[in-house]
Symmetry: D2
Subunit: 345 residues, 4 copies
């Protein structure tokens, strides 16, 4: 069985593991107050050209999302998300469990449209009964999105403008940020993201670390006392050093982007290979998640040799599935997958 069902199938990149081993017997303070975390924070601030940003390391993505949103929303505010957004669908209501509605607007190619957000806010505040409805307080986007698509500078700037108009906090979920930055279609970079959003995170779990997400809070009034809520929500790892060491290893040099480029190269090869076979796609994804539409009969055979995620029924005989690549994907496995699909078609 060769697995393509997600980008967190293996442990961590060997270089990451080596750093964990090397530092294993060091004695450090707990809770992210060690030298490795300090160093990783400095590296991230430098990469983001954000010398005043606060950087916190949390364990996972769901945790990072609900912790940040719970910290910044007033009790009567909700967060606007595309209806395909991770917080709207796949976090078991974690945001609602902190007391806040996820206001789901229809996604366009997996993305939230600035005009749609603007119209929603306009309608909300114009309504004579607006106090009877949840006040929009933040905007959540993911980049790459859950279907692999990317925001460009224009789209992100438009969201920034709308957020400024209505007083909304703009938060970007970067669980797969490296795959976005390494995509041939990308025109963002870390400094642009840092200065355009109020906060975002650089994903580790799906990007070759054992686990971990680096939350970057650039807006100053959101920074004070943030460590309290990390602790309260269960995100403050006792051996916080594990996060510092991993992000240090990934970001001090080029490893993070190297892993991301590897995954993107193979994803583009897979896309091209399936395209050549005449396969169509649920969506045109420029990142490491590919969503081909395949005949059910083919999938019935394929699943004995390759794992994939089932996404959506397209018609009575076809289903869209997801293949992911990662730092650990091997070129020959991608070729085997293309060949297998070619033979089965």
């Amino acid at each position: 069985m060769i697995r393509f069902n997600s980008d967190y199938l293996e442990g961590a990149h060997p270089v990451i593991m080596a750093h964990l081993l090397e530092t294993n017997l060091e004695q450090t303070p707990g809770y992210g107050e060690d030298a490795h975390c300090e160093n990783a924070r400095a590296v991230i601030r430098r990469l983001c050209a954000a010398p005043d940003a606060d950087v916190h390391f949390l364990v996972g993505g769901t945790q990072t999302n609900f912790t940040f949103l719970a910290a910044v929303l007033k009790p009567w505010q909700g967060v606007i998300s595309a209806d395909s957004g991770h917080i709207a669908v796949h976090e078991t209501g974690a945001v609602e469990a902190t007391g806040h509605k996820v206001i789901a607007l229809p996604a366009i190619n997996g993305k939230l449209d600035a005009t749609m957000v603007d119209d929603y806010c306009d309608l909300h505040f114009a309504d004579e009964s607006h106090e009877h409805m949840v006040m929009p307080g933040a905007v959540y986007i993911s980049n790459p999105t859950e279907v692999g698509t990317l925001y460009n500078r224009e789209e992100l700037s438009a969201l920034r403008e709308v957020c400024d108009r209505w007083g909304l906090t703009l938060f970007l979920d970067g669980a797969r940020l490296g795959y976005g930055l390494a995509s041939p279609e990308n025109d963002l970079d870390l400094p642009f993201i840092a200065r355009t959003t109020d906060a975002f995170y650089i994903g580790g779990t799906k990007q070759g670390l054992l686990f971990g997400e680096a939350l970057v809070i650039t807006r100053e009034d959101l920074q004070p006392d943030f460590r309290y809520i990390i602790k309260q929500k269960g995100g403050m790892l006792a051996k916080g050093r594990l996060l510092g060491v991993q992000f240090e290893a990934a970001l001090e040099g080029d490893l993070y982007m190297e892993m991301s480029r590897h995954a993107i190269d193979l994803a583009m090869r897979l896309k091209e290979g399936l395209n050549d076979l005449g396969v169509s796609f649920m969506i045109d994804s420029p990142t490491n998640q590919q969503f081909p539409i395949l005949p059910d009969s083919l999938l019935e055979d394929l699943r004995h040799r390759f794992s994939y995620a089932t996404i959506q029924r397209i018609d009575p005989t076809h289903t869209a599935v997801r293949f992911c690549t990662s730092w650990a994907t091997r070129g020959e496995d991608v070729e085997s997958l293309i060949d297998a699909i070619g033979e089965l078609l």
Copy 2:
């Protein structure tokens, strides 16, 4: 200015007020443990043919909805509602504030369709990632709905069946229950509602009382310790007697239905009058809320003499508005309204 914008424009029916005055100097225990509450509970149990039901009196509808749902849902469960449902739109995220997602399904004529609920649950539990999504735990419906429509026995029974299949609690919001029961199109009665739902409430606030909702919990495992959460959520009125006295006055005799019939008669007269003028409606409502579509130019004039609620823009020159009748609406005011619209058309 003659007001038609809601059904809670005045205080209470004079008979209700008289009972409050008569009992004003009685000394009673607090928190709903007085003889008037006991009596009102007995009356309600009798009317519902539900001798084992628990009956609680709360102050308002939003409070009743979130208190009941918070009590019965597990932390990881949400409540299914029509996307036009009061809890989904007009309660400032009160249900989410207790930690639970409102799972909004598209309304059909303001109603939740049993098949759609069934399909949703089927998809949820069949999904390999179902633990990453909010588990459906209850179904919320309102009758009459927010757009004045009614469930019939067949529809309510179908929802019951789906709830049984998936282990969901069925809760009916009866903020305007009397107007539903008094409608010419209604085929429900209190005993049927009591035995088909797990809990429901008989509305007072919009039905001629000063305030108050009578929550009837028929499912036995939902009954124990319920008074704790009423207190915790702020719904336990210190002078609980005020609720008992009012429901007693309304329900011991025919007053509650008499008030409801009065409102329905005038609503039907308004509907007929506007129909005769060629006015069309956003929806065909058989209850005390009527939703005519009127030219914006007409409304511009009308609003100086009659109040209404603005509901929805229909096209660039027309808007759907809401007129409500109640126990306090006067026949001559309805005629004036029809005449005024006739003249302005």
Copy 3:
């Protein structure tokens, strides 16, 4: 049976009832946006010498407490209260249900001591693990306290100073505020309270209204969007006018203080009468709640003729009980009570 167990045994003062009747058929907007509420707000601002205060009318005390505290606390903050405070004991964890710890400090005569609050904050912020503990964010006091005692100007000013030092919101629960202001030992007045706290409420339920509390928010940054959370937490009465009408009736003239003085006069008479009989008290209360310590054998007889609240076992044969007076208490009933105890002793 003559009841002394609480100060909310009857309905409302006849003048209040008369105003409700007079205005019963007026048509008004809902949710506290009517002319009576506007007027009552203006009266309260005037009485408090707080022209910029926001005034909101809520239904009950528990609701007012948790709604205000939920609105002002950050998710990782708790509220400091005397361990005898209403929110710490008798609100079924309503504050915790909004996510916030009640940090209970030992009460001294039912009161919170400013030095103790200061020391607590000092210890908290000096602790190297302070992020692992709930951050103090507000101070809750009640005046009169739950055992009838009063803060004086010096004590309240000291709390203000400590709150300023540590950035805490100072909130005063005035469920029985009138009885405090009418006490011979009182040296506070509404303008002093308004300018010394950040918010407080003027109680109605226990002070001769049917129900209702008038929340006065003086600190400006706590004012915006507050109506959203009132709606969310179930405190926005649809017929909000009922609150406006009652507070108008009570506060436009001298009725509120007249009712309070009546209760205090009778409470002082009761205290004196029992003192003369040699009865000792659990606490020296200058307000409408009196806490005599009585032999269990006496209480066994007394309870068939007079109701009281059981407070605390003092020794194997004596119990402290509570007698309350109110606007509705009759002088002859107080004399009967004194006589009965005298005979039974």
Copy 4:
């Protein structure tokens, strides 16, 4: 600097690290559904003689505590804890943030006394106002406690009996469970704990793993759907295998107890050494945390060479501090510490 301030100063035991490295490139399903987790679960069930127990792996202790308690408490229930309990003091109000009061009773030697719990429940349910107070719903204990002490069989059985009497869930926090089981004073074992509590966890973070806690739920009605709330509260590690691999490595053989015994041996040596120097202790701890009372002047010197946790001021010139041992503590470092204190005394 030699660190003794906690038992999570290093990474993980080399054997654990080796297992992580060996399995690093395996492809596995996520979220704890891999073969390593399955195997670790089977091992734990066997060790606990609890074939029907559910075993879940979470990342940290605070997370495990609030996730379990949030899952089992009704909204109006709280959890009884010693006032020194971790959930009462050092989790930033995590339990309250899920809506539940921590009912803190005075600790006796860091432990909760069964009679005190019984009395508390008795008073609660006997009180005529019990619905106005938080209902006790669970009992939380930690073993070893936060001050290193241990429950014996008799004490744990007494708590079980009280929990049965009042319908309370009994939950044991075993963050340092191994150090307890390895203590010379211990008379518990895993099967006894498993059959006496409703749920408990076997700590990893403080016991030589990188991180991770194994929650064992033995009561069957608490088992269904538990994975939903783990996901919702952020405790479901994407690469769940990391937890399975670590617990497998620790528990399949004797490593977990071997590490624990090592720590206990050195803690007993430290205790003996300080005793010989005439040092007194804040509490008599039979486990890996030792709490000597030392002169402030001595500590001023000591802290340049040895780290410790400051616990409590004892008198104007003495402070109780905490030294922890762990699997990683070296015998020679303990001797150096004893020598250093001996010289400084």
